[in-house]
Symmetry: C2
Subunit: 346 residues, 2 copies
DNA sequence: ATTAGCACTCTTAACGAGGGAGTGCTAATA
DNA sequence: TATTAGCACTCCCTCGTTAAGAGTGCTAAT
């Protein structure tokens, strides 16, 4: 019984590997031939039929070889595939790229999504950190002329958020300076998510002293923290076109995939769900609930700031992808990004 | 003779319009039928043959209809096509989108490229302003903790450039404040391109007073102004996929187009050349010198800050595009962006 | 439990024929 | 001289046919 199961697994594994490599359905005869299988093709056929019945495989038409279903891929990812490391060159390449230039968060984001797409030959992405539950280190208000102010929030080393604020009244430079001072005194060290409430509390407590200024400050804070959305950086969607071309079986829906990728909202939503927990996650085919991406898989991991998960990164590609490699890549890059965000001047 | 030429032009125009609309070669009979042409198809055939001989048209095989060459499109754009306006709805739509949320330059950039792609059904793009020759209004240095400083350069209302600077020595907050003050005194009102030299001059003149600080300031300026590259925002490349699909004659090379578009370097280069002069420009097929884009056209215009051209925006699509419409769109959006950049608090 | 054998299915490529669209040319016409 | 009718010719496209090939599913034998 155990022996039997082992063989079945092995066959499933071979089918998936073959299909991933060649984009052609795996045939029973082929499996026996190419993988030195100690049984006849007929036996393999029986097993394949079982696997199909149990939902791990299908075939596009009666007499084609087998290709994996989502369930098949899922089983492979969870139980069958062996961990893999990137090659030395690849790791070196990544390290070098980051070393070359990395100033500011934006650069890191761009770099990362590019990196991911380049090595995976899939579309790579990275979410900008969500910082709501992180602590404010420092706030700076810069007068931009006119009625505009630039609010710069320093959260962690390397993590900066800035936002232009449009006022409908004038504010003298001296006032701005005083407000800035007050805000820093009162708000530093608090989590970003509490800024608003905290402002209200301050105003209640200290209403006597400098009410006008505080009201102004409240307005500023209100504007600086509205619509605190994550952004997504995405590179390499051209790769997807290429890999779809190889695929013989479903050309349809490439357009919708592209649209979905470009729209980014969908990706954002999918990834946001994955951020909930740490570590490398794999979403196969319909497991992500958007029909536009039903023929695609997402491999992603998270990165932290301090000990808090603040963002995610990963790759998107056709279901038929080299999962072990992809997992290794995403894992590695996540670690690199972690290092960058947490090492310097932390 | 004049009459003769008019007819020829008319026929060229009809061929182009037809091909743009339907993606099918225009046949002599078809022209007569669909456009109430007061001659026989034979006559038209003669003219078509002439036009082909002169290089304005080709046909993909002996007995297919005619399609325009680059030269044909060029003539159409320069001499034949009639100016067109966007529909009321479209203009309203654009205006509304911009009104909805526009804080900060980044938002405007993103908005614009999205807008362009949405209405044109092509890939839309916009270059961020190149500000080298604009005047510095104000400079602000923000300590980010560790050895990092954020330099915020205010150039015009709405035009802000910021850059994180990595030092390899510590800088006290008081020092930073003094440096900031000096920089503002000495550098405000100068063009960005002269910052470096100006710093050197200042140091020479005032070396006696506070040499150390000035040297530090020089370092900061040096870093803040290096690699002042334009960025490009690009949306809607999925649209290109769709329009290529319609085309029967050249499927090949879609991959390379996508790669080119995503790489952005090529687009950047092409557009940068177009920025030289004002107004709407059309580049047809091979006129842009990159073979990857030989089957595509670029319609672009520039936008200004003050009275200086600082950036470009436009759309990219297959040669077979509705030029009049595209020109109208690009023109309109360029004007809107101009308004935004120059109106408020200017 | 495994396997050999074979019929059956479906794909793919190649081929050819027929129809159709459209041109190019020539000769007639206004 | 400019236009047009007419017609042969070219080339594509579609469809049906065919043949080969790949691979399965099943049955019966081991």
């Amino acid at each position: 019984m155990n022996d039997f199961k082992e063989r079945k697994k092995k066959i499933l594994q071979v089918v998936i590997r073959h299909y991933v490599r060649t984009a052609r359905p795996a045939a029973s005869g082929m499996i026996v031939r190419d993988y030195d299988f100690p049984f006849s093709s007929a036996t393999v056929r029986n097993v394949l039929a079982e696997l199909e019945e149990e939902g791990y495989l299908t075939h596009p038409y009666t007499s084609a070889g087998r290709i994996p279903t989502d369930k098949g891929y899922r089983f492979y990812v969870d139980r069958l595939m062996e961990a893999q490391k990137l090659t030395q060159e690849e790791e070196r390449h990544i390290a070098r790229e980051y070393r070359a230039k990395r100033r500011g968060l934006e650069e890191v984001m761009r770099q990362t999504s590019k990196m991911l797409s380049l090595i995976s030959h899939q579309a790579g992405f990275i979410l900008t950190p969500t910082l709501d539950r992180n602590f404010l280190k420092h706030i700076e208000l810069v007068a931009l002329g006119g009625k505009r102010i630039l609010a710069v929030l320093v959260i962690q080393a390397g993590l900066i958020r800035h936002k232009t604020i449009q006022l409908n009244y004038d504010l003298k430079r001296s006032q701005l300076y005083r407000i800035s001072k007050i805000l820093n005194e009162k708000l530093s060290g608090l989590p970003l998510s509490q800024m608003r409430e905290e402002m209200n509390r301050i105003i209640e407590q200290e209403s006597n002293k400098y009410l006008g200024l505080l009201q102004t400050a409240k307005g500023l804070i209100g504007q600086a923290f509205t619509s605190e959305e994550s952004e997504i950086y995405l590179e390499g969607s051209a790769n997807i076109l290429a890999s779809v071309k190889e695929d013989l079986y479903d050309y349809a829906g490439v357009g919708s995939v592209f649209r979905a990728i470009e729209e980014k909202r969908i990706i954002l939503d999918i990834v946001r769900r994955l951020v909930q927990s740490e570590g490398v996650k794999v979403l196969i085919g319909k497991e992500n609930l958007y029909p536009e991406l039903k023929d695609f898989s997402v491999v992603s991991s998270t990165y932290k700031s301090g000990n808090r998960v603040v963002g995610a990164l990963g790759i998107i590609g056709p279901k038929r992808m080299e999962y072990p490699k992809m997992v290794a890549l995403v894992d590695f890059v996540a670690k690199v990004v972690n290092n960058i965000l947490n090492s310097e001047g932390g």
